[in-house]
């Protein structure tokens, strides 16, 4: 497949990139790893007039823990995150980065690219929704920090303005008693998720003090299962509790029938993946107390 014609620039710093986005507003598109954007351009579902390659923008691939946050630069690849030492302390991130696409995709695909692309069946958005992560966007006017809840608007639609660059994803640091897991059902290796569920629980003594659940693949945009989260908080973990929360998550899903299965099946799988995720999350939380 031959992509349509476009111009290509590889700016040396962020200011230059922002200038290009402003000068060619609406027709310029940022290129990170390319594993989401290039297939779209080849299929001519996207026809940007200018590709701005982020390759030489330094300082955008850091993975650092501050006093209260884990900050991951937009240009960090799935593989870099998976191999990074923080991955051992954040099993949810280890889960998700080990299962995106295939090894070649993980070698080149980046967290920022995936999040900005906002495919309704991609993995990272579910994790960001579960973790109540924030997304940092820079423009000539400064920096905006956007909550995941406000960031993912619809299929392939986010809160990023055409003149902004997504620079960083921020997670709260993992406190004692917290565990997370990402459980994905896929038809075959490398396929997009039929259903993907990110689950996080924080244990306060014998009860769940905080919970986050993000679901992908079964709605126009990956969402936080708020009703399920509320069911979990203040309760002692049990199979019955997990099942009730999972049913609430399934009820919030809006799956459509396609090659990956009918609506009832997908809804049932949301519930099942949620139960499996919660079991793991609680187990990992107990092991980190």
């Amino acid at each position: 497949m031959i992509p349509g014609q476009f111009d290509y620039v590889r700016p040396g710093d962020l200011d230059q990139a922002l200038g290009l986005l402003r000068d060619r507003e609406g027709e310029a598109k940022l290129l990170s790893g390319g594993y989401s954007l290039i297939p779209l351009i080849k299929l001519r579902l996207a026809q940007p007039g200018l590709l701005v390659d982020m390759r030489d923008l330094s300082g955008l691939d850091g993975i650092v823990e501050t006093d209260d946050e884990l900050r991951i630069g937009a240009r960090a690849t799935h593989r870099q995150i998976h191999e990074n030492e923080v991955s051992a302390r954040y099993p949810l991130l280890h889960d998700v980065t080990g299962g995106i696409g295939d090894p070649q995709v993980r070698n080149w695909g980046t967290i920022g690219g995936s999040v900005a692309h906002a495919d309704p069946a991609s993995d990272w958005p579910a994790v960001l929704q579960a973790a109540k992560a924030t997304i940092v966007c820079r423009s000539a006017n400064g920096e905006r920090v956007i909550s995941a809840k406000d960031f993912f608007i619809d299929t392939f639609q986010t809160a990023i303005e055409p003149t902004e660059v997504l620079t960083e994803i921020r997670f709260r640091r993992r406190p004692k008693g917290q565990g997370g897991a990402y459980v994905k059902l896929e038809r075959k290796v490398g396929d997009f998720a039929t259903v993907g569920v990110a689950s996080i629980t924080k244990l306060d003594g014998s009860t769940i003090g905080w919970a986050g659940i993000g679901v992908t693949g079964v709605s126009a945009s990956p969402f936080a299962a708020n009703a399920a989260e509320e069911i979990l908080v203040g309760q002692a973990p049990s199979e019955d509790l997990f099942r009730r929360a999972a049913e609430a998550a399934a009820a919030q899903a809006e799956p459509v029938a396609d090659v990956r299965g009918p609506v009832d099946y997908k809804r049932a799988m949301v519930a099942e993946m949620t139960v499996r995720g919660l079991r793991k999350a609680v187990e990992r939380g107990l092991a980190y107390s």
Partner: protein, 182 residues
């Protein structure tokens, strides 16, 4: 349409070309440089037939623009053999019947080479996960996995015992015979 000048080191040799930004790396390699060992399979980032190494990382060259490879090092299947001596992975695919039609083989070998660079002694499960981005429609993967296991053994043996490397290589050439016959 304006073109861009790119310099790419391919299999150790610096090569230059003026390309349209929309040219894919796989077409730069095949059509401009004449290196047709890298195959175009699905052309949708699924099958991995076009896998090459870019700066040491395996990549699907149908999902990378030629301009993205500017200033980088690319290694293709043509860069694996040392003259008439096949790379241990190539020899192992031969010995173990790791191919039938051969279409996926260049990508499969490049992905396996990357995998063994990362993990010199992978388990069978790790091999299967490592080549999960490469599709083979002939073999059912059994002999591909065997081939990668054979090459892993030979490569790590030659690395861990450099003193007897020459001897080992000879020994392997002999011991490869029965496997090839079987």
């Amino acid at each position: 349409m304006t073109t861009q000048h790119v310099t790419v080191t391919v299999n150790g040799e610096a090569r230059e070309a003026d390309v349209e930004p929309r040219l894919l790396l796989v077409h730069l390699l095949r059509d401009t440089f004449g290196l047709t060992g890298t195959h175009v399979g699905c052309d949708t980032s699924n099958c991995g037939a076009c896998t090459v190494h870019v700066d040491g990382m395996s990549a699907k060259s149908c999902t990378m623009l030629a301009v993205q490879a500017d200033g980088r090092e690319v290694k293709t299947i043509e860069g694996m053999a040392d003259g008439a001596d096949l790379h241990p992975l190539q020899q192992a695919f031969w010995d173990q019947h790791g191919l039938q039609c051969g279409f996926c083989t260049p990508g499969m070998i490049m992905q396996a080479a990357w995998l063994l660079g990362e993990n010199p002694k992978p388990s069978e499960a790790e091999i299967r996960e490592g080549i999960s981005g490469n599709l083979c429609r002939c073999t059912g993967y059994v002999n591909i996995v065997k081939a990668i296991q054979q090459a892993a053994g030979e490569l790590s043996a030659s690395e861990s015992a450099p003193v007897v490397a020459a001897e080992t290589t000879e020994g392997q050439a002999v011991s490869a015979e029965p496997a090839a016959a079987g």
